[in-house]
């Protein structure tokens, strides 16, 4: 953790001359992903995590505030979550936690075993970011099409996806099949809802599993704005313009259409959630 905090500070030092307004780090960025039982040793509470990030931002010589999103294992009074925190760093009034998202879909199949060690989040919230309303989806959260849909319905214009994705599939043309799958999912979410999508992928091998990196950004039209290669540790900078969100939604108003039709869909008694409620009533 100390070495990774130092690495975070050096990234800040590199970025500060560019005056960034938002910085996104991957899932489990300071500890690595496959911790299993060590989650209980390395998890931090949100205020401590926020303070550590803010310390690095200030120590790097920042003179302006910046919103910084970092994935981390959260100890919430003895309940452990795979979370991502959005921290307003370098503010004269002190450190401010803008949002904590607790991963809702904990993969527990194949190589994954999150639910054995962690408790899932219960709410998909949004928050005010420097680029308008934003939501955070952690890794598998974003694989469920309903998640970016709900985020967009709740007003998100920007979806931030910290991720730790073990790369797999060597048949790909240019990149791993898992990276290709990710890009398709992210592009589709961006284009359907007219939202920016920022994806930060962890890199490095953990017990043979190579975190596939592939950090990338998509425009509200679903176009790939920039992408790192698999395993590539790098910084990607992107300029976001909220007017692009308006233009994309005006051109293809799928989100508006969905808002109108959603009540009919939601009240369908064949949807399992409705049935479950009825069964328990």
């Amino acid at each position: 953790m100390p070495a990774n905090l130092a690495a975070m500070r050096s990234i800040f030092e590199q970025l500060i001359p560019k005056a960034p307004e938002l910085i996104v780090f991957p899932e489990a960025a300071l500890t690595g992903y496959f911790l299993e039982g060590a989650v209980y040793e390395l998890a931090l509470d949100a205020p401590t995590m926020a303070a550590r990030i803010d310390e690095q931002w200030r120590a790097a010589g920042a003179t302006k505030p910046c919103e910084i999103v970092v994935g981390f294992y959260e100890n919430a009074a003895g309940t452990f979550h795979n979370s991502a925190i959005a921290v307003r760093c370098g503010d004269p009034d002190g450190v401010h936690i803008a949002h904590v998202h607790r991963k809702m879909f904990l993969p527990s199949y194949g190589v994954f075993d999150e639910e054995r060690f962690l408790t899932r989040g219960r709410r998909l919230g949004t928050f005010a970011s420097p680029f308008g309303t934003a939501a955070i989806l952690i890794c598998e959260d974003a694989w469920h099409a309903i998640m970016p849909t709900i985020a967009a319905l709740k007003g998100a214009q920007l979806i931030i996806v910290p991720s730790a994705s073990p790369g797999r599939g060597l048949c790909g043309e240019e990149e791993l099949e898992s990276n290709t799958r990710w890009k398709a999912i992210l592009s589709s979410a961006a284009a359907e809802h007219g939202v920016y999508v920022l994806y930060a992928g962890l890199t490095g091998f953990e017990g043979g599993k190579g975190m596939s990196g592939g950090t990338c950004a998509f425009s509200p039209r679903g176009d790939l704005l920039a992408s790192a290669g698999p395993l590539e540790s790098c910084i990607i900078t992107v300029e976001l313009d909220r007017r692009e969100v308006d233009l994309a939604r005006a051109t293809i108003p799928l989100l508006g259409d969905l808002s109108a039709v959603l009540p009919d869909l939601w009240l369908d008694e064949d949807i399992p959630v409705t049935r479950r409620l009825e069964e328990t009533s």
Binding site: G32, F34, L35, E36, G37, A38, E41, L42, G167, L170, C171, G172, E173, E174, E175, L176, G204, F205, E206, G207, G208, G210, P230, L231
Partner: protein, 282 residues
């Protein structure tokens, strides 16, 4: 009017690999797991003259630099002469360090106390002696032993437990044999090594495919489908012979134990790897 009928073939997940991508990935694996995680930048491996260890030598040389790779030839008196010369081709091509350490005296020193040992036991003694030497050479050189077992032999149980499978890192253990061939060709492993029939070279005229009773091409296809969850009838429907499917499935089902650490009696709530779960060093 008769419309053209487009009939989709049965879906079958491919075994093809993007060899350039695979090479980059496995080189990054070696750098990360050896240098970054363990702080060891030197590799030691047993170079048999076969394709698996040849491929690992190429990957190590690319990842760590040939000056940091120690290839050890470990012949027994019955080993074929071509194994030694094929290993030399790889050494010459890569410029890695090489040493030849005969295991005959050490193996025969034990076997003279085991006059009833059959070919299988003798082969196991050779394999375990090779690993003993390899680990000692790793201690001598401050180098990490690198494994050379491929996915096909791991799944078929075609290896000596606690011998071929012991090195702490293995870049090719998730590659089927046919994928090993593809990657080796891409990296320029000499044709003499790539094209010769694979052999454990524990006995005269031994070949892997003879021992296994099936070609690697057929075995890999069946293994791939079994691991993806296909039932036997679905595999046969894709053109595999029922007898081949049976042979492969029996070997896989009877060798799960070889792919695990020893079975330890659990008596506490802190049993290692059962309750106390720490997959990597912190």
């Amino acid at each position: 009017m008769t419309l053209p009928l487009l009939e989709a073939p049965l879906d079958e997940p491919s075994l093809a690999i993007n060899a350039a991508l695979a090479a980059r990935w496995l080189e990054a694996f070696l750098c990360d797991e050896m240098l970054v995680r363990r702080g060891i930048g030197k590799a030691v491996l047993g170079l048999s003259g076969g394709i698996d260890s040849a491929l690992v030598a190429y990957l190590c040389a690319r990842a760590l630099g040939p000056e940091n790779v120690y290839a050890i030839r470990l012949p027994y008196r019955t080993s074929s002469a071509s194994s030694l010369s094929d290993a030399q081709r790889i050494v010459d091509a890569l410029g890695v360090h090489v040493e030849t350490i005969e295991i005959t005296d050490a193996v025969d020193g034990y076997l003279k106390h085991a006059p009833d040992a059959d070919a299988r036991r003798k082969g196991n003694a050779m394999a375990r002696m090779r690993m003993l030497v390899l680990f000692d050479q790793s201690a001598r050189r401050g180098a990490l032993p690198v494994g050379t077992g491929n996915k096909t032999e791991r799944l078929m149980g075609y290896f000596t437990w606690h011998a071929d499978d012991t090195p702490p890192v293995n870049p090719i253990g998730d590659l089927y044999k046919t994928q090993v061939w593809a990657l080796a060709r891409h990296l320029g492993v000499p044709n003499e090594v790539v094209d010769k029939p694979p052999s454990a070279d524990l006995e005269a005229n031994q070949t892997d495919e003879g021992d296994l009773g099936i070609s690697y091409a057929k075995a890999d296809r069946i293994l791939n489908l079994i691991l993806l969850g296909y039932k036997d009838d679905a595999i046969v429907a894709r053109g595999c012979a029922p007898s081949d499917v049976l042979l492969v499935r029996r070997r896989v089902d009877a060798t799960h134990w070889k792919r695990h650490l020893p079975t330890t009696a659990l008596v506490s709530a802190t049993a290692i790897n059962e309750f106390y779960l720490r997959p990597v060093d912190l």
